[in-house]
Amino acid sequence: MKHEKLLRFTRREKLLGFAGKKTLKLISLLIGVCLASFWLVEQSPVDPVRAYIGEMSVTPEKQAQLEEYWGVNKPPQEKFLNWAGNILKGDFGISLIYRIPVIDVIKERFTASLILMATSWLISGILGFILGIIAGMRKGTWIDKVIKTYCYTLAATPTFWLALIFLMVFSVYLGWFPIGLSVPIGVTAGNVTFLDWLHHLILPALTLSLLGVAKIAMFTREKLTEVLSSDYVLFANARGEKGLNLVLRHGIRNVALPAVTLQFLGFSELFGGAVLVEQVFSYPGIGQAAVEAGLRSDVPLLLGIVLVSALFVFFGNTIADVIYEFVDPRIKQEEAAS
């Protein structure tokens, strides 16, 4: 009885310690990221007034008015402290180019991107895992070679290039899919069906997931090979368990968790890939907004996006850590051993 209590206690201690450490890490990360991005925007040679007016002729009065709006002559520290003070109050400010609250822009755009990312995250995880298992089981056969070749090729393929190829083949020549956008042309929101929506999502999501497959497949293959040559599998073999059954009972169990962990660690690549895919497919996500904000010195919007994406990546890494720490400490031990 006593002993049990003690154990529970240390467990809670551990949990609290973990949470505390994570929170501190997150806060310092966010502060660092904000400072760095702000410094970068300030260093950027882009003149926001020129970016806004293009080649229009402007009188001196107008120029002064525009410079004030874009904060051209404000000292950077004042700009940053203002912004940071408002953030602490939960106010992300108004986007200079969209002229609506930053939080609204992010909500709109991030939702679209999240759907795209979640879909491809799932597809690439499942597909990669299955391919990895097949390759691991049939190590050295032709199918293993095919899968390996596919993975190596994909690992070296630029995202936007693959997106362009898909767009040309499936949308222009074959006409199976729409030319970009996330909704059908000229259809009012109430009349857009789930199928329409799916139809527009397939190509971008597919592009993004095909690229994510490689890493997870190769990792799973490697892990499975390791497991299949372990003592307990040998023992199971001796007991007469064979083939798929054996892999399902002993392999998958031991390979699944590390694979899931790895998938969570891939949030940053997922995010980067999404930005490129969105550009090619004219898909209205956070990527498009981030590019606009950066090129046109929309400081509040850019910093808002940076904050949200840092949180997103941090969240993925934290889940992976939780799995390490609490679900399967063995992973950590193995990592330490290797």
Binding site: Q63, Q65, G186, S282
Partner: protein, 523 residues
């Protein structure tokens, strides 16, 4: 991925005859801040959703909401009368108060429209608005034409652009950000009603727009000039004339170590020599540039405003005359003494850099072709693509390829009027060449303050060439104007777009939307 080979069920892409799908870069693409004129929507082009006081008819203005206007003798008080039968689409009448509200908001806002000349705005009664100016500017009429009127009772700075209410020929239905705008005909419209009941405007890059047109999903798409010779079944390619001119600026001052307020070098010892500027103007064969660099999609341009009511026919000249160009150079003291094909004068080589905005292929092609032709008369031009931010630094000392085209002569005024850096009345985006000719200043100022259209146009023309001096080739040859672009569209065979006027810089394709119709059902 053959899994997806099965045809998927999705909403049909066929359209009713009175529904239009357009992928056009009009209004410079998608307005980030939404369809709010106060935040820059459709500055000087047809706003579709809102109405304007006056509207563009080719290169002049006609009444829209306005019924007439008058200007006081000093040019400082403008009184505009408007129709009394106009309603916003929510049923509320549009009155002079809405006009005053729109202009006041814009003057105090931060869109690109410059209303700094306004002193005060008052609605005298329901149909009369009085504008008081702080500077008598005849070009104020173009400001009045450039702004869609918003309803005071339904205006909120943050939400209006997302769901605008107006009194124009079309009603706002839906905006899928980054993708498309859906509009529906306003059946209560006071003016000539358009044929198309519904318009969908897609926001796509030119190449994507062309792909969409090829796949039969679009009625009209703006395409790059490089695709002007393509053929697509069931569609025709049309080129619209514009007033969108391309020209090269010549820094007019010698480089004597002077700097602007921002510490950028002023002046260029080669282009400040009149012989160089005049020889290039006369020696370059514009038609050859157009056939090559513009794929034939353009017309020769000599003053930057040739086709406008305030242009000057007297200022045009014969070009492509290399003998004349060489004569001008040699009598200006330029000789090739070392035999390398490049002229010199007092030890200075006739050589300079020419920049162009690096993301603009048309301007790159023009710059390269100009350099090639200049070589034939002994002038060496080194071409360099730069970002706008780099051009903003180098433009005071280095020629650049620019694009201008507006029916508002203010553009021209700001380009040639001499104000000095540091004088407080200088904007760094204007008169980058530091052009300074008091006779031209005089003509520009007179044009700006003459309220009779003909008188004013006469003075604008005189600024280019008044018989003794001017900014055009016959005078100072301050710029090398090359060509006026054509805007190229691919159009479904069944679509008739009437006779669009000359397109301004950035195009205004929907200006004559009420003339558009479907001539036959496409098979």
């Amino acid at each position: 991925m053959i899994v997806f080979a099965a045809a998927l069920p999705f909403s049909s892409t066929s359209r009713a005859a009175d529904e239009l799908v357009a992928a056009v870069g009009t209004h410079g693409g998608e307005p980030e801040a939404g369809f709010d004129p106060i935040n820059g929507w459709a500055d000087g082009t047809e706003p579709l959703i809102q109405s304007t006081l006056f509207k563009r008819d080719n290169t002049s203005l006609v009444n829209d909401l306005a019924t007439n206007y008058s200007v006081s003798s000093g040019g400082l008080t403008w009184t505009v009368k408007i129709r009394d039968d106009v309603k916003f689409t929510d049923g509320v009448p549009l009155t002079a108060k809405d006009v005053a509200f729109t202009f006041n908001k814009t003057a105090n806002g931060s869109s690109g429209m410059d209303l700094s000349m306004i002193e005060s705005i008052k609605a005298l009664d329901n149909t009369t608005i009085q504008f008081k100016l702080n500077d008598p500017q005849s070009t104020f009429i173009y400001k009045l034409a450039g702004l869609g009127i918003v309803p005071e009772h339904a205006y909120n700075n943050e939400t209006y652009g997302q769901k605008p209410v107006g009194s124009g020929p079309y009603k706002f239905v839906q905006w899928d950000k980054g993708q498309q705008l859906i509009l529906e005909r306003n059946d209560e419209y006071y003016g000539k009603k358009p044929y198309f009941k519904k318009i969908t405007i897609l926001f796509m890059e030119e190449d994507a727009a062309f792909a969409a047109a090829r796949s039969g999903r679009v009625d009209i798409a703006e395409i790059p000039v490089s695709l002007a010779n393509q053929t697509v079944n069931g569609m025709k390619i049309i080129s619209l004339d514009s007033i969108d001119a391309r020209g090269i600026s010549f820094p007019m001052q010698p480089d004597v170590g002077k700097k602007t307020e921002d510490n950028y070098t002023i002046g260029n010892n080669v282009t400040s020599d009149a012989a160089i500027r005049k020889a290039l103007n006369v020696g370059i064969e514009r038609q050859v540039l157009i056939d090559g660099a513009l794929n034939g999609q353009g017309t020769e341009e000599f003053t930057g405003v040739d086709r406008l009511p305030f242009g000057n026919k007297e200022a045009t000249f014969e070009d492509g005359n290399t003998d004349e160009a060489k004569k001008i150079l040699s009598s200006g003291g330029w000789k090739d003494t070392d035999g390398d094909g490049i002229l010199e004068k007092n030890g200075l080589k006739a050589e300079f850099t020419l920049t162009y905005p690096s993301n603009d292929q048309t301007r790159q092609a023009l710059a390269v072709s100009v350099a090639e032709q200049a070589g034939k008369i002994g002038i060496k031009i080194n071409v360099e693509g730069k970002s706008w931010d780099e051009i903003d630094v180098s433009a005071y000392s280095t020629p650049n390829v620019w694009g201008y085209g507006s029916i508002d002569p203010t553009d021209m005024y700001l380009r040639y009027y001499s104000v000095r850096s540091g004088s407080g009345e200088w904007s760094k985006y204007n008169n980058v060449i530091f052009y300074n000719n008091s006779a031209v200043d005089n003509n520009l100022r007179k044009a700006m303050t003459s309220f009779n259209q003909n008188t004013s146009n006469k003075y604008w023309g005189a600024a280019a060439w008044d018989g003794t001096t001017g900014y055009s080739q016959k005078g100072d040859a301050a710029w090398l104007w090359i060509a006026t672009l054509k805007y190229v569209y691919i159009v479904d065979d069944s679509l008739d777009i009437g006779t669009p006027g000359l397109q301004p810089h950035g195009a205004d394709i929907f200006n004559n939307i009420y003339e558009w119709k479907r001539t036959h059902q496409n098979s």
